[in-house]
Point group: C2
């Protein structure tokens, strides 16, 4: 099998997605931390369109964009556990909810931070909590009591949403507010703890403290 | 095979994507035009999260989000021509470029319209043309002289980009500017003409005139 390299930045949830997918499939890879303030020739050449991490280098092939890479990993290494389910309708659901998290729900967390005025902020938080109820329902439906959106093990929705937990907690701490409210979404809150401790995740997802140090300018690398 | 219905709105490029995919696979379906100002119970129940078209109803299953539906169609009806290529790396490329068009390039066309001031508008147009050069290169690479991003026939990138051609032409006419510049991207311009005339597309993609009537308030349905 051709050599696998990952160009990343430790605090990027998009890089974390790829690391989790590689861990789930037990794929050995060389991790190459990137300095995003002074981009390497390797990064510029391997992702000339976006010039961003993550980039997966698999032999002579370069793949970028986190969800594209995660699906590539699932399709190229089909001997490990599956990340996407096998039935077309279940696959459609996985892609639908991943898009919901990425395009609709998580952007509200950023919107909360940049919104000014207590009333306007409260309205954004209300939308976040409405989305949380929807995600709780989806979790209960897909997990069927088995622990993950993917069932007995981490799957596509778990990776896409779970990778954002570190930054979600940072926003909770820095904004002094709760988003992942246990009283509203008890199953999802328990899932978040379970996901964070999963062996494919535990060494990958940065701690809230490290991320807060980063935004405060104390940390430039891990 | 279970009955197939599509909830749509004729002028939506996202609905057009699904129509093209269904046509490519020669799937018979019932098209149900929706009034988006007064949403039907069927729409609200079949897409409770977004309450938007397109929704594909396949037997007792509801699928929404255009790119999710197109991938579902490709996976659920695997006896027709393939929409995504078969090799994982080629599939990754198809998804990468579809995301580039959707998230990065086409939004510039909307940004051009809402940008004020000649100089600022010119800067946005410059970015659109830079993206066009990138898309021209991608087209030449993937088509290998065979006519489409997908090779001899329409594929995933063709559908995602091609569905936007109607609205691209509307913006060109209403803004008095050229985006799909033949001198910059001759291959892509020829592809656009070829795509529009393809039998799976010709009856689906609305004419520029009809779309302009719509935005001028003259037309509410086809």
């Amino acid at each position: 099998m051709a050599a696998v390299k990952l160009l990343g930045f430790w605090a990027s949830p998009f890089v974390n997605r790829v690391q989790i997918a590689l861990n789930l499939k037990s794929i050995s890879y060389e991790y190459i931390e990137q300095n995003l303030r002074s981009k390497s020739q390797l990064l510029l050449e391997s992702n000339p369109v976006h010039k961003k991490v993550p980039v997966l280098i698999h032999g002579d092939k370069n793949i970028s964009e986190s969800v594209v890479i995660v699906q590539y990993i699932d399709e190229a290494w089909n001997d490990g556990p599956s990340i996407l389910p096998s039935h077309p309708y279940d696959r459609a659901n996985a892609r639908f909810w991943a898009a919901y998290v990425t395009d609709k729900w998580f952007p509200l967390v950023s919107e909360y931070r940049t919104t000014e005025g207590a009333e306007a902020k409260a309205a954004v938080r209300e939308k976040i909590l409405e989305g949380l109820v929807i995600l709780e329902e989806a979790f209960v439906k897909f997990s069927e009591g088995r622990g993950y959106f993917g069932g007995d093990n981490i799957g596509y929705i778990d990776i896409v949403l779970g990778s954002l937990l570190g930054w979600l907690r940072v926003r909770e701490v820095t904004q002094g507010v709760t988003f992942l409210d246990k009283t509203i979404a008890p199953e999802l809150a328990a899932w978040a703890d379970r996901f964070t401790l999963h062996p494919a995740v535990a060494d990958v997802l940065p701690t809230t403290e490290k991320l807060i140090e980063l935004i405060n300018g104390f940390t430039k690398s891990k």
